[in-house]
Each structure stands twice: as structure tokens, then as C-alpha cells.
């Protein structure tokens, strides 16, 4: 389809405001009479609260003090399972759990006051790993420490092993990862004199916050209003946590009668808020003599932290993606999310898929090596093709161009030549080179029947100013929501991009288009914007105010004529499921996602065997994401995701002590800087998806899935050491390469000797 606005890199809608410092983030806002809030948190991992004492030297009468007893509604952060209290009441289950809230007109008065509140505990034993939790010697949650388990099965796994030429096993693990949006979490709450409550904040999902506030305050839904401020990065880290923080500020605002601002500093944000779930995956794989995958038995376990939050849905996506982009005649995935006494882990770009795909794509290289086949050839023989069924028995009806992408990635990187060249080079150099790949997929939108359940509503309306605006609760936090939705509306209505604006995201006026997560905005919300715009055009045609052949000026004039005659011109549309979508939540089988994006990533690395540091020399990211709505924004999504994936693989290590993150500073939790990253070369293939906006599929999470396995596969090739865990830091490589008694062949000299003798 020929398009005018879609597919063009128009300027970012809120770009000028961001570039001039005029964009208003939550900490830039101020209300008359506003005071400041702070949180007293648990210093232990688990135990009973026996007493709360207020120390001397603090003018406590000046402070607003809130405990669980001040909660007018239910003491929960309402989400999926209402197990997480908004303020601990009697018992704490993880370090940094909120216990008490303080507010004061001078924010400089807060740190000393927080420190002067003494919580007296009776400590209880706690657990801090998947292994401890699954042993169940201590039960800390429910009957069995398990938030959720799934069993996904296709074919007859038990019967497949006997046909195998090889059976290969492996165990892989991934660490926690901090989202590290550069703007920390923050909100302002204001309780009105007549009982209403308004919250402004940095957030992805205003209606999640709304739901949580209604439960917490007991107020009627229409009395609670949530407004998104400009949001300085999120990556999933502002999906569920803002519901907690908004609750705290609201409790202080309701008790004090004054607007309350709560902004976390970096240390509090890193220590207290959600991170990516750590994981452990065990693979057992049957392969035929000609290198075809016969069966998989996959055990996938995640550490969910102390409360259920989103662990069940993160586990679900990880489970469904565990088989990757391959044809498995037989596959069984047993997945479990465990409770531990750490702050709850939560949403982070990729949502379980980066964990299970790291294991799979690392394991694919392990299997290829075991059966003596090149990693690219082993993958090639097993890729899904059009008409084949995924691990959930979903037949892929759309074209899959993974084969072509694999070939193109090999060409673009000079893969085969480099494999040989590096093998030669590594014989004599102390700088070992390697090249690794990952093939993967990412499903767009909520899983299974999730989009039907969300039933997103989207609107477009003619404005008094003479243009058209889009009404959604889908939020902009850098990924480009504002821009692409305006492009889609402009394209559909025959208008210019500048004719379209976005209505503020405000639960009192915005239709509920669902949460801004799961790579659903371009594909699903974009499509509904398109439908709503078509309906608006039809309304004008039906009214006789618009001729079918009319151009832009006539259209805008017709909008104004309609407004004059009927008051307003609005058009709303709801999500319509693509036909023939069936999902069985019990069996975990059927159409898991409306569409998948597909990708092949290749990383080239150098391991310096004197510093044990890894440098990425080249990174090629090829993906098929349907129609590219905005080439610059789309490439920016991929580059940013790859950068986070590089951090996940090589830099970003959360150091835990008794359930607490102890490197909760940018100084010692290291994310990639401008000096660390390689050139990231991005290429798109476009296979338009019929049910996405102008053929778009999801893109946002995809680039988080592939970098880590591609990079570690390259490091393994460079060093000859079978690394199976991320993050992989220089000290880990040092340990492995110098480990004398257990692994003598991997000391530097003998490794060189061994390679020399091959």
C-alpha cells in the first residue's frame, strides 16, 4: 500500500518540548501548598514488626505520619493477586518494604526524620534463591512458595527420546536487571476538599494506578483521577510500581489535606522498585542424526521476589517463548515462579522472554557443538516456516522470512570467513575473537485471550482549534506513541501530520486503551486508531458535509461544520480480535499472539585475556516487524534495546545481600555509556500483518531478547569456555580462565597449548 505519512520519519510529536527543556516531568510540577513525602522501609528481609518508635530531636508534630492503620480502603496494591500490602502491617517480607510514610513542607527535613523512626522487629528466617524456595524447607508464600506454574506440552515428548541420535543437556541462568530509566519514579497526589483524589505521575499504565487507588482509598471510581506527566523512560519499570507510590502519596495527601509530592532518589529507586526476574532454565534436547530437533524438555524457573505482582504473566511469556523460532515436533515446558524475600521482581522489556530465550539460544550453540554442526546450519535446519506450528501449536499463516534473514546476517557480518579467520587469529593472539548469533521471535500484544479481556477503547475527535486529536490511555515514554498514533490518524484521514495532536492521558477523559506494555501500541492500538479514524470519516460522509473526493482543507472544514451543527465530532472504536484466534488457557495451546516479530542478531567480540574484558566490535540486528511506521523511531527502538541487551549480558549486575540490592547506585551498577557500545547496525524486513495498523507488528521488546545470547555465544567461541550465566563480567571470565584445580585446561597457557595442538 502506498502511504503518505506512515513510513515517513516525521519529527517526534513532543520533540521540541523535550529539546528545549519545556516538557514537564513530574518533578518539574508544583502545586500551591505542596508538601513532600518520604518512606520508612524495612531494614530486614522477613520478620514481625513489634513496635515503632519515634526518636528524639525531631519536631514530629510538624510531620504527617501514615501507617497501615490510616488506610481507608483495602491495604493492597491491587493488580492480579491482591497479596501485596501498600504498607506493611505486622509483618515484613522483604528488605525495603514500605512500613510508614512521612510528609513535611521542607523536603530537607525528611531524611533525618526517616532515620529517626525506629522499627523494632522480631526477625524470621528468609530465603533468597530459586533453589532455597523450591526446596520448601521454609514456606514464605502460600502453600508451596510458588506464585504460578505452567505446563505447556506439544506432541509426545516421553516417546521421542528413543529416536534420538543425541541427547544434550544444559543449565543456564540470568540475573536481575534494573530498568534504570533516567527519571526515577515520582508522583504528586492531591485530595480535594469534597473527597476527590487526583494523582499526577511518571507512569506507563494510568488505569492500573486508578484501579489500585480505588481499592486502597475506598473512593468511588469516578472520584479518582490519574494523569500521566511526561515520563522519562520506563521499560516496564513504571508498569506496576507507580500504583504503590501513588498509593503512598495519596494516603499522605488525604491525611494532611495538602498536595504531596514523592520523588524517589536514585538509591531508593534502585533498592526498592522492581527489576527483571532472575531465572534458571534447564534444557534436555533430543536431536536426530541429520540435526533435526526431535524433542525438548525445558524446566524454566524464575525468582519472583516476595509478592506475586506480575510474576504469573512474566512467567507465561517466558514459557511460550522458551522454544524460540524453531519447529519442535515434541516439546514440554514446565515453568514455575518462586517466592523469595527480595523486593518483588516485575515487568521489564521482554517480560520473561529474554530469560528463556537466553537459555535456548545459548543451548542451541551447545547442542550444535555437541553434534558437530555449525551453529548457523543447525539453526537453519530447524527454523519455523510458514504453515508450521509453534510450541503452542499455533500455525503461522503469515510468511516467515527467517531463512533469508539468517543468510543476510551471515553475509552482512562476513560470518563464515570470520569464523575461520578468528580461529587462526586466536592461536597466537592474547585478544581472542569470536562471532555469535541468536535467532528469536517476540509475540506482540497480550498473551492468548488477554487482548479480548482488555477490550481496548480508542477515540479520535475534531478539536475547536481546527485539527483532530487522538484519545487514548496509551502513554508516551520515549518509544514514540504520540508520533506514530498521529501518523496513523493523519494517514487514515487524509490529513497532514501537523493536523493531528494527542489528548492528555487522564483517566477522567481518556478512553481506556489498556496498559502501554507488551509491544501492543503500534500493532493493536494503532489499528484501533485507524478504525476510529475511518469511522470519523464515514460519519462526515453520512452527514453530507464531506464529499468522497474531498481533500485536506475540505475535510477540516467539514469537521468544523459538523461541530457547529452537532456540538462535537468524536469517533470511538474498540479492539476487534482477528478471526480464527483460539487460545486454551488450561492447556497453554493455540494462538498465543496475533503476530510475531522475527529476528537474527550477530555479535562480534574481542576478549582481552590480560584484562578479561569483552569488547563488542560489531553488532548486526536484522528483524522483521511488519510495516515500519517510522524508520528513525523504529531503528531507535532497536538500538536502545540492543544497548540494554548488551548491558544485560556484560555489565549490569545486581549484587544482593540478604535480599537487598547493595550496589544501588549508578556508580557501581554499570550501564553502557557512549564509549562502551559498538556500532549497532539495524536492518528491517517488512512482511505486513493484516490486522496491525498499516501492517505494523510489535517492536518494542524484541531487541531485548537477542543480544545476550548472541554476545555470550561469541565469547564462548572466543574463549572456548562454556559460559552459561549472565551477566558475564570480567571477573567471571578471569575466574573461569584461571581456575586451576577444577579446570586445568582452561588456564591461559594450557588453553593456548590446547588450541595450538588442534
Amino acid at each position: 500500500m502506498q502511504t503518505r505519512v506512515v513510513g515517513v520519519s516525521v519529527p517526534r510529536k513532543e520533540g521540541v518540548a523535550k529539546l528545549t527543556g519545556q516538557a514537564r516531568y513530574i518533578d518539574d510540577l508544583s502545586l500551591p501548598g505542596m508538601i513532600f513525602g518520604a518512606t520508612v522501609r524495612s531494614s530486614i528481609a522477613r520478620g514481625a514488626i513489634e513496635d515503632i518508635k519515634f526518636g528524639e530531636g525531631i519536631p514530629w508534630h510538624e510531620f504527617t505520619i501514615v501507617t497501615a492503620k490510616d488506610i481507608p480502603g483495602r491495604n493492597v496494591v491491587a493488580l492480579i493477586v491482591d497479596d501485596q500490602p501498600c504498607l506493611a502491617d505486622g509483618m515484613v517480607n522483604h528488605p525495603e518494604e514500605p512500613i510508614l510514610l512521612l510528609a513535611h513542607p521542607d523536603r530537607h527535613a525528611l531524611p533525618a526524620a526517616v532515620a529517626a523512626v525506629e522499627i523494632c522487629y522480631k526477625p524470621a528466617p528468609s530465603i533468597h534463591s530459586i533453589e532455597e524456595s523450591e526446596r520448601r524447607e521454609l514456606i514464605i508464600w502460600g502453600k508451596d512458595n510458588m506464585f504460578k506454574s505452567y505446563r505447556m506440552e506439544k506432541g509426545d515428548v516421553d516417546n521421542a527420546w528413543k529416536n534420538a541420535a543425541w541427547i544434550v543437556e544444559g543449565e543456564y541462568s540470568t540475573g536481575a536487571q534494573e530498568q534504570l530509566y533516567i527519571e526515577p519514579n515520582g508522583v504528586i497526589a492531591q485530595a480535594g476538599p469534597t473527597g476527590g483524589l487526583t494523582v499526577w505521575g511518571s507512569m506507563q499504565c494510568p488505569f492500573y494506578v486508578h484501579k489500585a487507588l480505588v481499592a486502597l482509598t475506598g473512593l468511588p471510581p469516578e472520584s479518582v483521577r490519574v494523569i500521566q506527566a511526561e515520563t522519562g523512560g520506563a521499560f516496564g519499570g513504571k508498569e506496576e510500581y507507580p500504583s504503590m507510590l501513588a498509593g503512598h502519596a495519596s494516603l499522605l495527601a488525604m491525611k494532611s489535606g495538602r498536595p504531596v509530592k514523592m520523588i524517589y532518589d536514585r538509591m531508593e529507586d534502585m533498592a526498592a522498585t522492581t527489576k527483571r526476574h532472575p531465572s534458571r532454565t534447564r534444557h534436555r534436547t533430543a536431536v536426530s542424526a541429520d540435526g533435526k530437533l526431535l524433542a525438548a524438555e525445558i524446566d524454566f524457573a524464575t525468582d519472583g521476589g516476595a509478592y506475586a505482582t506480575l510474576s504469573s504473566t512474566v512467567l507465561s511469556r517466558g514459557t511460550i517463548h522458551a522454544g524460540g523460532p524453531y519447529l519442535w515436533p515434541n516439546i514440554r515446558v514446565h515453568a514455575k515462579a518462586y517466592a523469595t524475600n527480595t523486593p518483588p521482581h516485575g515487568a521489564f522489556r521482554g517480560f520473561g522472554a529474554p530469560q528463556s530465550l537466553f537459555a535456548l539460544e545459548r543451548h542451541m550453540d551447545v547442542v550444535a557443538k555437541a553434534i558437530g554442526m555449525a551453529p548457523d546450519e543447525f539453526r537453519r535446519r530447524n527454523l519455523l516456516h510458514q504453515g508450521m506450528a509453534t510450541a503452542t501449536n499455533q500455525i503461522i499463516h503469515d510468511e516467515i522470512v527467517l531463512d533469508q534473514m539468517l543468510e543476510r546476517a551471515l553475509e552482512l557480518t562476513g560470518y563464515h570467513a570470520k569464523v575461520n579467520q578468528f580461529a587462526e587469529h586466536n592461536l597466537t593472539s592474547t585478544h581472542k575473537k569470536g562471532i555469535g548469533m541468536a535467532a528469536f521471535l517476540h509475540g506482540a500484544g497480550f498473551t492468548g485471550s488477554g487482548e479480548r479481556y482488555l477490550n481496548a477503547l480508542v477515540g479520535v475527535e475534531a478539536t475547536a482549534a481546527g485539527g483532530v486529536r487522538v484519545l487514548v490511555s496509551s502513554t508516551e515514554y520515549g518509544q514514540g506513541t504520540n508520533t506514530i498514533l498521529c501518523q496513523i490518524a493523519a494517514e487514515t484521514l487524509g490529513l497532514e501530520y501537523d493536523d493531528i495532536s494527542m489528548a492528555p492521558v487522564d483517566t477522567s477523559t481518556s478512553p481506556n486503551s489498556g496498559p502501554t506494555v507488551a509491544s501492543r501500541t503500534a500493532m493493536i492500538i494503532g489499528k484501533i486508531v485507524q478504525t476510529a479514524a475511518m469511522k470519523m470519516r464515514q460519519t462526515l460522509l453520512d452527514s453530507g458535509l464531506l464529499e468522497p473526493s474531498a481533500g485536506r482543507e475540505q475535510f477540516l472544514a467539514a469537521c468544523q461544520a459538523y461541530r457547529k451543527q452537532f456540538g462535537e465530532l468524536q469517533s470511538f472504536s474498540r479492539y476487534e480480535a482477528a478471526p480464527n484466534i483460539f487460545w486454551n488457557d488450561e492447556l497453554y495451546s493455540g494462538e498465543a499472539y496475533g503476530a510475531y516479530a522475527w529476528a537474527v542478531y550477530v555479535a562480534e567480540v574481542t576478549v582481552d585475556t590480560s584484562t578479561y574484558s569483552v569488547t563488542i566490535d560489531d553488532f548486526v540486528a536484522l528483524q522483521e516487524i511488519g510495516k515500519v511506521i517510522h524508520p528513525i523511531l523504529a531503528a531507535g527502538q532497536i538500538e536502545g534495546g540492543v544497548a540494554q541487551g548488551i548491558g544485560y549480558a556484560l555489565y549490569e549486575k545486581v549484587v544482593w545481600k540478604d535480599g537487598r540490592m547493595i550496589n544501588n547506585q549508578m556508580t557501581n551498577y554499570i550501564m553502557p555509556t557512549a564509549e562502551d557500545l559498538p556500532p549497532i547496525r539495524v536492518f528491517f524486513e517488512e512482511v505486513p500483518y493484516q490486522h496491525g495498523a498499516y501492517g505494523a507488528k510489535g517492536i518494542g521488546e524484541l531487541p531485548m531478547d537477542g543480544p545476550a545470547p548472541a554476545i555470550i555465544n561469541a565469547v564462548v567461541q572466543a574463549t572456548g569456555i562454556n559460559f552459561t550465566s549472565i551477566p558475564l563480567l570480567p571477573e567471571d571470565i578471569f575466574r573461569a580462565m584461571t581456575a586451576e584445580p577444577e579446570r586445568p585446561a582452561e588456564s591461559l597457557e594450557s588453553a593456548l597449548a590446547a588450541e595450538g595442538s588442534q
Partner: protein, 156 residues
């Protein structure tokens, strides 16, 4: 500790503020002068979101006690765009997609202005080094590098 007067010039305008001497320049700019374009990301000089120009040098305003700014000439993001529109660096960021969530953007733009001020035609290595103190979590820096090189071209 008592408050005292501190005088400095911000974006060409003279200001005298009554502040605690050890208050952070960042807070004085944001809270006393209402210049909220300068952002706080970490409060410890790691992320560079609070970068401003002070006497021509790029500084993390979260690490500068306001007392040190006595008599200084300070430039913030608010002072860049003139009557004739966006500064060439801002134009280049807009065109190249150098801003995503925007929270690192004011600091990143100030770092770029500083870099191009003393290195008008930087190499890629100089760009990487010049922006090494400014963290961005959205972009992977690629589009920011593009923007810096584009701006260097425009400023010729």
C-alpha cells in the same frame, strides 16, 4: 547554617538568590529560578542529566555547591533556543531522533554544545568521549551520535 546571597548570571540574566551555601546548583536552578529543564537523574555525578555550562565548562550541577557559582556565567537548556528558533544542536537532535524519553536530552544537548564549542568537527571517537559522561537508557546513543555529527555540519 544560615542563608546568604549568591549572585551569578544564567542565560544572560543576572540573578541574586538567598540560599544555603551548600545547596546544589541544580536545586537552585530548578527551585529558585524555575529552570526545570535541567534534570536530576542520579544526584551523584554519574548520569550527566544535570549538565550545565559554568564559565564555559561542562559541569554536573548536582555536584556544584551554589557558593561555587558566585560570579559565574551559567548556561542551561532554556537559554539555547533564540528568537530565530531552535539552536542547531536542538535542530539536529530533532531531525536525527536523538531524543526519546527526553530526560537525558537537556544534559546531552548541553554536552554537545560544549563539545562542538571546542571541537567543531569531531571524529566519532571524540563524540563518544565528549558524551561519555552523559547516560542515555533509550537510544543506545546511535541517533545521538548522528545528531552531533549533523549539528557539526550545520555549524560550519
Amino acid at each position: 547554617m544560615s542563608k546568604r546571597e549568591v549572585s551569578f548570571t544564567v542565560n544572560g540574566a543576572a540573578h541574586t538568590v538567598l540560599v544555603y551555601p551548600m545547596e546544589r546548583l541544580l536545586d537552585v536552578l530548578r527551585c529558585e529560578l524555575g529552570l526545570t529543564g535541567t534534570k536530576e537523574g542520579c544526584g551523584e555525578g554519574e548520569c550527566g542529566s544535570c549538565s550545565v555550562l559554568m564559565n564555559g565548562e561542562l559541569v554536573n550541577s548536582c555536584l556544584v555547591p551554589v557558593l561555587q557559582a558566585e560570579g559565574a556565567t551559567i548556561g542551561t537548556i532554556e537559554g539555547l533556543a533564540g528568537a530565530s528558533g531552535l539552536h542547531p544542536v536542538q535542530q539536529a537532535f530533532l531531525k536525527c531522533g536523538g531524543a526519546q524519553c527526553g530526560i537525558c536530552t537537556p544534559g546531552m544537548v548541553m554536552a554537545t554544545v560544549h563539545l562542538l564549542g571546542h571541537t567543531p568537527a569531531p571524529t566519532m571517537e571524540q563524540v563518544r568521549e565528549g558524551l561519555g559522561g552523559n547516560l542515555c537508557r533509550c537510544t543506545g546513543y546511535t541517533r545521538i551520535f548522528d545528531a552531533v555529527l549533523e549539528a557539526a555540519g550545520r555549524q560550519k
